[in-house]
Amino acid sequence: MAASIEDVANAMFEIVKDGAGSKKYKPSDLTKMMVEKLETDKKTCKAAIKELVNSGRLVYTYFGGSFLEIPHKEGAAPD
């Protein structure tokens, strides 16, 4: 059965959480990984990302390219 938006979002969140501090992911990275791992498509991934960001679980960050990260304390540089 195809993965739900919810499933994809959770899986994405785990990946980002595990990478925090060492590896940053772009939406396209996550989408590619999900399409590979789960039974899902790009549209679902897009919805999942929107869900994650709207709910505040992930935020977009920008440092030489846009990434999805766990929200961290604001400031000039991530810490």
């Binding site: 590896k23 940053k24 440092f63 030489g64 540089a77 991530p78």
Partner: protein, 360 residues
């Protein structure tokens, strides 16, 4: 609390179009420049739209915008626009309002012009006012240069259009790379590496791959993962800093400006071209950067004196040849002028067609 709106996009432009535009949308027949800074567009229907173009420093206080709005209300039924070079355009239907409007504009210290064969506003960027990346200020140089050139904004006394742009670092926000004259903030030293924080703030593979000349490689410094820069491979582009805050380049002693000439965007007559290096480096000299002002003034003067009608800077230089450009402007030709990046060889002169002056 009302619902949080998102993704509504900008308001529909029709809301802001003056009635004469709505009625004659797509039906304009021709235009004429009536005098510097004032033109009329005439519709198939006979309707006329007068435009008065006012210089703007781009960085505007709300009070000034309110003053502009008041003028628009008084003379233009409340309608106005900005241009792609950040000038303000008042849109009038009543010709008799033109001069009073101009009177009020000038009284408040603003000027009118930038149309036809003139110098329009300098497209520019943030500089020390807002950007972390800058090798120089933006607004200050623009002000100093335009003070010096304002007669060419207020008059149409040039062979063709002259477009100046400024960017405060090599990121080149703006069309600096395709301007008749480009003023470019330029570093001269490799990045300083803050090894303490680098691993925390930056992804090392990203940093390494950011460098156009492969000058960066991973290194362990004091036991911490970091990077090192092969200084002889670095040409101070700052791209490493863009992706990694721990590699700043700015430097009070050595930052400054380079000047580029002969670019254009329009396809009129000749195809678009990049600006080419004229002056490799002028140190920062605030508040008025006199050397930059003089350099630009000189280039404008030599061009204005020698170019044919409609001949943009780059077309003129191509006609007379670069050696003649350097001779006429008195700018020194150095090894820095010779390209050494990827396509360098394509800028070498691979022909025997050449102008020689007879022996003196």
């Amino acid at each position: 609390m009302t619902e949080r709106l998102t993704d509504i996009g900008p308001p529909h432009y029709e809301k802001f179009l003056p009635p004469v535009v709505k009625e004659n949308y797509g039906k304009w027949k021709y235009h004429e420049i009536l005098k510097p800074g004032v033109m009329v567009h005439v519709s198939e229907s006979g309707a006329k739209l007068f435009t008065v173009r006012m210089a703007s420093p781009r960085l505007l206080a709300t009070d000034t915008i309110r003053w502009i709005a008041d003028l628009a209300e008084k003379y233009c039924g409340g309608y106005l626009r900005w241009t792609s070079r950040n000038n303000v355009e008042f849109l009038l239907t009543d010709e008799s309002n033109i001069d009073p409007l101009i009177g009020e504009i000038k009284k408040n210290g603003f000027i009118i012009g930038g149309m036809g064969n003139s110098i329009s506003n300098i497209v520019h960027t943030q500089g020390w006012v807002h950007c972390h990346s800058s090798a120089t200020d933006a607004s200050g140089i623009v002000k100093a240069v335009m003070d010096d050139l304002s007669q060419h904004f207020e008059n149409m006394d040039l062979p063709g259009k002259l477009r100046i742009a400024l960017a405060c670092c090599l990121n080149m926000c703006g069309a600096v790379h395709c301007s008749d004259i480009a003023i470019l903030g330029t570093h001269q030293r490799p990045p300083r590496i803050e090894h303490d924080t680098l691993d925390k703030f930056c992804e090392i593979p990203n940093v390494v791959s950011a460098c156009p000349t492969a000058a960066i490689r991973p290194a362990t410094v004091d036991g911490k993962p970091s990077v090192e820069v092969l200084e002889e491979n670095c040409m101070y582009c700052g791209n490493c800093y863009t992706v990694c805050p721990s590699m700043p380049l700015n430097n009070a002693e050595t930052d400054g400006i380079s000047i580029w000439v002969g670019g254009k965007v329009s396809d009129a007559r000749s195809i678009p071209k990049f600006s080419k290096l004229a002056i490799p480096f002028i140190p920062n000299n605030p508040p008025r950067w006199p050397e930059v002002v003089e350099a630009v003034h000189n280039i404008v003067d030599v061009w204005a004196k020698n170019a044919k009608k409609y001949e943009r800077m780059g077309d003129w230089i191509e006609r007379i040849g670069w050696p003649e450009f350097f001779r006429l402007t008195g700018i020194e030709f150095t090894k820095y002028h010779i390209d050494d990046f990827k396509h360098a060889g394509l800028s070498f002169k691979r022909t025997a067609q050449m102008r020689h002056l007879p022996e003196e």
